[in-house]
Symmetry: D2
Subunit: 401 residues, 4 copies
């Protein structure tokens, strides 16, 4: 079953699924249980309460849906919108593209705002659209907080400011798949109506829980949404929340215990410390890229992502070959370039339960691979640049002081 086994640990630097911490692997190492016994609802109650903290919301209502990010998207859309509703949606990379594809197939009227891949959402155009929309035909703004394909982080605070400025009632639906629990995310402060993530991203669990959090406005909208839905229907959850049994259908016992452990670790480290750690890892990675003489796919600093860095390679190199060699020679898993940037970028995911020395091992590996494929990198240069920054900025591990 491990027929492609290589010595030592796999260095997992795809932007999801990410490394699972040992205590979480341990917590999930268990037999099934009756989810109708008193134990599971009691634990679920703590999960629903605690998961709100990673969204920074006190007023939101979370749903732990046995699905992936794609399902979480569908849940966000079908519960709050009706077929034909106009949505402004930003196309800035492969994952926003896939979400827009879903929006169209679900029969929404998608007003797509496209940017070059490597740029953030064009908020000037959003401003124009909001300004022009006196009759409030726009029912929702759909935006990916962090586009995983290009390593671009959008400015959600500005989106909220524009909506407020134009007193526009459109719902704000945010894909936080590669941001929540890693980047600064403030559901209540930014007036996000639906935020969502997947368990296999910064929460550092296996795939299997789509976590969706709905604002009171979103819940209100769900009462009149005419989108057909059953599996993804929030009402089924709300009914069981009232009963105190919580689950309309069978959850994964293992993932519930895993989520409990994952949240415990995040709160032990401190959510803000977790975010600061991602900031360090992102900065260190970008310093290495710069030292290698390569360009970040992300075109401006304001959009730099602290969870994933897409690195542009020179035209004479196929980035797919970099990813292939990483796995075949160095037991290193990097992210491919997708769609428009296929062959042009490779991606370093630096999110989830990860520390600086793990990243530095990856960066050293990337240097060797760059050399393998004919790029004239100075070996050690990226690691040196990253270390120069990190050595000044890594805090002591609090529990060990």
């Amino acid at each position: 079953m491990d027929y492609v086994y290589g010595p030592g640990r796999n260095h997992l630097f795809v932007p999801g699924p990410v490394n699972i911490p040992e205590p979480v692997i341990r917590a999930m190492n268990r037999n099934n249980e009756d989810y109708r016994s008193p134990a599971i609802p009691a634990m679920t109650k703590t999960l629903l309460e605690d998961v709100k903290k990673i969204f920074k919301t006190t007023t939101g209502t979370p749903f732990l849906i046995p699905t992936t990010g794609t399902g979480a998207w569908e849940s966000a859309l079908t519960n709050t919108l009706s077929p034909g509703d106009r949505i402004v949606s930003f196309l800035i990379g492969q994952f926003s593209l896939l979400w827009i594809d879903q929006q169209q197939r679900l029969n929404f009227n998608v007003d797509a705002v496209e940017s070059d891949w490597g740029q953030g959402a064009n908020l000037d155009i959003l401003a124009e659209k909001l300004a022009a929309d006196h009759t409030h035909t726009i029912k929702a703004i759909c935006i990916v907080h962090n586009e995983t394909a290009t390593g671009v982080t959008n400015n959600l605070a500005t989106v909220r400011k524009l909506l407020d400025h134009y007193r526009h009632p459109a719902l704000l639906l945010v894909d936080g798949v590669s941001s929540i629990c890693a980047l600064d995310f403030r559901m209540d402060e930014w007036g996000v109506d639906v935020a969502l993530t997947g368990s296999q991203k910064a929460l550092s669990l296996p795939t299997g829980i789509g976590i969706v959090c709905a604002s009171p406005n979103a819940l209100e909208a769900s009462k009149s949404s005419k989108s057909v839905r059953v599996f993804f229907d929030w009402n089924d959850y709300l009914k069981f929340y009232k009963l105190g049994t919580f689950w309309p259908y069978t959850p994964s016992i293992q993932l519930l215990y895993g989520l409990r452990a994952a949240l415990d670790l995040i709160f032990e480290e401190g959510l803000d410390n977790v975010i600061a750690r991602h900031s360090r890892l992102g900065k260190a990675t970008r310093l290495a890229v710069e030292a290698w003489g390569l360009k970040n796919c992300t075109q401006k600093e304001e959009w730099y992502s602290d969870t994933v860095t897409a690195v542009l390679v020179p035209p004479y190199i196929d980035s797919t070959e970099i990813v292939r060699r990483a796995w075949k020679r160095y037991n290193l898993s990097l992210g491919l370039g997708l769609n428009k940037v296929a062959g042009k970028v490779f991606r370093i995911g630096h999110l989830g339960n990860l520390n600086e020395l793990q990243l530095l091992g990856c960066l050293a590996g990337v240097e060797m691979i760059l050399k393998d494929v004919g790029y004239p990198v100075k070996l050690g240069s990226g690691v040196a640049a990253a270390c120069a920054y990190l050595q000044n900025n890594i805090p002591m591990i609090p529990s060990r002081i």
Copy 2:
């Protein structure tokens, strides 16, 4: 996290989620991996090939969807039918009721055929409907193979015979959630068009994979189905099957390895031996119930289920109290009576990776609980009846002869 811990093993006899065998727990005890590396597609290919064997199909196309049984239902319906389509659906217990509720909410025109809870699907009425349907307004027959709420197994071979007899082209959609891998199920022979199950049932995995298998007819129907769907759309899977990367969105790495191990165990034991074992366990349970002087909720022998037994309690006993005491005093998890039979039945699940001595421990526990709640059971009577049968019928463990 184990704040309701009791000494010794939990005796898990709910009809799902069921006991996970140790080798499967081991196989899932692992970190995440890049699902775009060559390793995961290579393993997925073997899974898709091998999973067909548990459906007994060579022509079907399987989908391993990151969802639950409820999602698998939705996948079966929305890919093959269009809103307004007439469906004949059998209501014989809580799970068929829930499926019908879903069918209605998905805007199908449901022609529900109801039976007393404890009876099987009324196939005489099906015959009448088919006979009368000269214009083929019925697009699908939806039937639960094994109704988990009442322990009733329907006769699928007869359903197929009726369809053939009336040369009716309706699709045959089967919920095999608590039957596949435990009861005799023959997708190709019985002309089942969509069959589905969930990983946490007889496959003995955690919850998280809805396994749906589509016949060529069902695939053909999916091309013209007008039901809105994205997450559950088979076409996305088929597109990635062609690419050889298999996954339109992130699967659970752990469940894939777990499924591999679960299938290996089933094939090592032999699928027919697995089914024979369930037959033994079912028979032994029913003999115990009879010895206790209690009635099976299932009204006729032809419907007896070998995966779950719903036991009727005398009117002066609340079956909920039996389930509660089982857990609180004996570390035994039994199934509650649901909806119409709430308080009237308790359920013993005897499916999945389970052996005879485990069942006998459960039966001994049930006897003590019956006494606890005031039923004048003769202690040892059920175990004696079960043992008398089992001692003549348990085979030697093949690997140990």
Copy 3:
């Protein structure tokens, strides 16, 4: 690697190694760690403090030696005695025999007091020897608290009374391998000088830690003991205790975390409740044996063991065949008869993390096996007798009330 796999759980009823509770398996599911980091000594400190509670001592000094019970024996002897020292040692079964063999090979002068296998230590003879030993030539009394081969529990309180009565200074060395953490054991109250057990017995861990606890007298004796020893030398431990690093050589990280979890579970249940549970399991087993019309190898009630029952079979049956069939047909592991009682007894271990329904499954299995081998057992009779007792005596699980 699981080439003898059978469906369902293995029913493990050998008197060690015993079932490991899931939380302990989880706690041990981990990578290695540096045992010289601050983490391991900090945890070790809590272990040494807490392990004293299972010996019921406040004055003893515990040693967690990376060895088995055989090594723990050697540690007890070589640290307290010198070659040629006279020991009174009781031979009542295979394990006391093996200990005496070790005592002889270590060059002690063993004064063995033999009983029939099935009887306890002959304390009348001990009294005689003590009375006669005016010059205190006897340096130690070596006694197995619970002889695992015959299911005989010796009365340690009486041994202490005799020593006190004769004001005899001999050290009291006790093998508590199959008693400590399961039977009533009081190191301080009974003036035990060295007590020992193994991790794979009632502590319900894997094999690998020999736990030895020394009284102040025993520690004093170790200063003048002339037995050659290095690996087992307590002085090496004491030196590292003083340094606060605790380990003279590398411990098993996994077993330390496992021991931490095992102790936590025992204290959560309550040591006295653990002992009461073993008393219930022992009593229930003996009632079943009686109902089957078979005899206990233990000849008098005063010696009945609550951790293991050795069952005598009629002369026309080979008990080895019972053990063989248990494993080959029922996935049940029973203990063989050893040495003098080989072929004549089979043993049911009922110690460690075990509950009543597990035992009842085993008893039902034994009934079927007895029938298999031609013994005219009434199926259900043993289970009925056990249930009649247990149904009146099992407490509610405290954490679930």
Copy 4:
């Protein structure tokens, strides 16, 4: 229980216990079993056969003793020698010192040959002693193949040549604790009489098995050895080998399955490839040390160790502070300097299941720590030097080509 938890993986670079590969952790994630069932002897048989391969012996007899390296030493000595026997033993660091201490306490007549810490065994003196020993008073040569405290590898081939040259019959006892399965070791070719290692070293298991392999000469010697021993007595093993049940006392079930998995991984990679990998890791580490401007504690290239590198720090730095900061700030576990070199060296263990990128992460960490403690290292310099070598020398992972 993880109260010193830090984010991300612990970087374990002590020279034991070392990282356990995931497949081995998985293999050990299991309940106990009856070690007297047919399954365990059948597996043990394969282990005893296969473990000989890591010693490169076909004539040796292996013993898998539930103990540590210290116990394995004691087993080697007491089975082959008698009290008073003259031993030539080399003192070149802390572990050879401890072995000599054991030899003395076991009452052998130790003729210690001391070298500066950082030098190998003085084989010139051995030659002199052999030349002078016409009456063969020397009964054994005891030598540590790889001194873990100083990172010094001794030349065993030369030792054998000297013994042969002087036709001296002394037994050759070798501590291969930090060499076997990592360095070139040839039991038969070099005429080693007893070789030993511990499970937690290059085999990459938890602590708990002392693996001792005895040549026919050593077995012969064990027949007349007068050293007192029971737990460590080979004869008890040999007796059970003959019976085919293999175990004189209870083994750890988990470690047996773990050893099976560990051997499978080693053979899959190929033992010679494993050794070549260690050679690469050792060379890369030394290149980094050189680039940092620091000195290797090992004084000559001929003694360089490929499993552990002891790095000398300038007098104004306390190496203990380096180890402390590594753990407290970087989640990196390094080895302390011991005894004579305490405060003067820190150690990087690079043995066991480890790959190049893991090592490079460690080296990057060491660079930052060196800067932390005031050493003027050029960040990136060591990594660059290591990468320059590794990029030319790492092979493709065979299973992924």
